[in-house]
């Protein structure tokens, strides 16, 4: 399941909905990304997330399908926010459930790694020195690339 929204979300309630009544689940893995108050040593006052409506949903849906093909998942959730966020606020949540913990843990890491390089979001950070678009990290490409190499996954 994919959601792209401006509003915050409730982790506990989302996990409850994702697992309710399904007793085949043995493991639930979750990752939540939050806004840090500092970037490259500069304090951040707010961050604005721009996205490409339509393509975001299409790409997140494709990422979820890829995870479901690679692992035997009971359920899967991706929530990504956009708009203006302050330090400490939640940006993204991915959660996967499976009978076995390895499938849940690996697919959760896969989802956030792939999402980072494929979902069309851009961060604009506001610091004392003005607003600045965040550069993509080469380490994000590396993290995503390890899922492309069958010898490592």
């Amino acid at each position: 399941m994919i959601r792209v929204q401006r509003e915050d979300f409730d982790i506990g309630a989302e996990l409850e909905a994702l697992t309710a009544g399904n007793h085949r689940i043995g493991g639930i893995a979750t990752f939540v990304g939050t806004v840090r108050d500092i970037a490259d040593g500069r304090p951040i006052s707010t961050m604005t997330l721009e996205h490409y409506p339509g393509m975001t949903e299409k790409q997140l849906g494709a990422i979820e399908q890829e995870a479901r093909q690679r692992w035997d998942l009971e359920s899967c959730l991706i929530i990504h926010r956009y708009g203006r966020l302050e330090p400490g606020e939640r940006i993204v949540m991915v959660a996967t459930t499976s009978a076995h913990r390895a499938a849940a843990l690996e697919s959760c890491a896969f989802l956030i790694d792939w999402l980072k390089t494929k979902a069309p979001f851009w961060k604009l950070e506001e610091t004392d020195g003005g607003a600045q678009w965040v550069d993509a990290h080469p380490t994000d490409e590396d993290a995503a690339a390890r899922w492309s190499d069958p010898s490592k996954s």
Partner: protein
């Protein structure tokens, strides 16, 4: 043609409708053609290593086809998550 993040700011518009000449049939040719539209386009597209292209909401490379009627978007490497 849709622009996002700093590409939108440099081009100066979020969206524009263009009419591709008949001989512009690939993403690579389209980018070269777009550069000629204005100084703003030329500046925004000066370094293509930091420009990503989506055609109909899927990532596209230089050799991929593009035609009038496609939804084309240009943006920097993504930084979500």
């Amino acid at each position: 043609m849709l622009y996002f993040a700093w590409l939108r700011q440099r081009v100066g518009v979020a969206e524009e409708t263009v009419d591709l000449p008949d001989d512009v049939t690939t993403v690579g040719a389209m980018l070269a053609w777009l550069r000629e539209r204005s100084d703003a386009h030329a500046t925004a597209l000066a370094d293509l290593s930091v420009v990503r292209v989506a055609v109909n909401q899927d990532y596209a490379r230089d050799g991929d086809p593009v035609a009038n009627g496609d939804e084309v978007a240009l943006f920097p490497p993504v930084t979500g998550g």
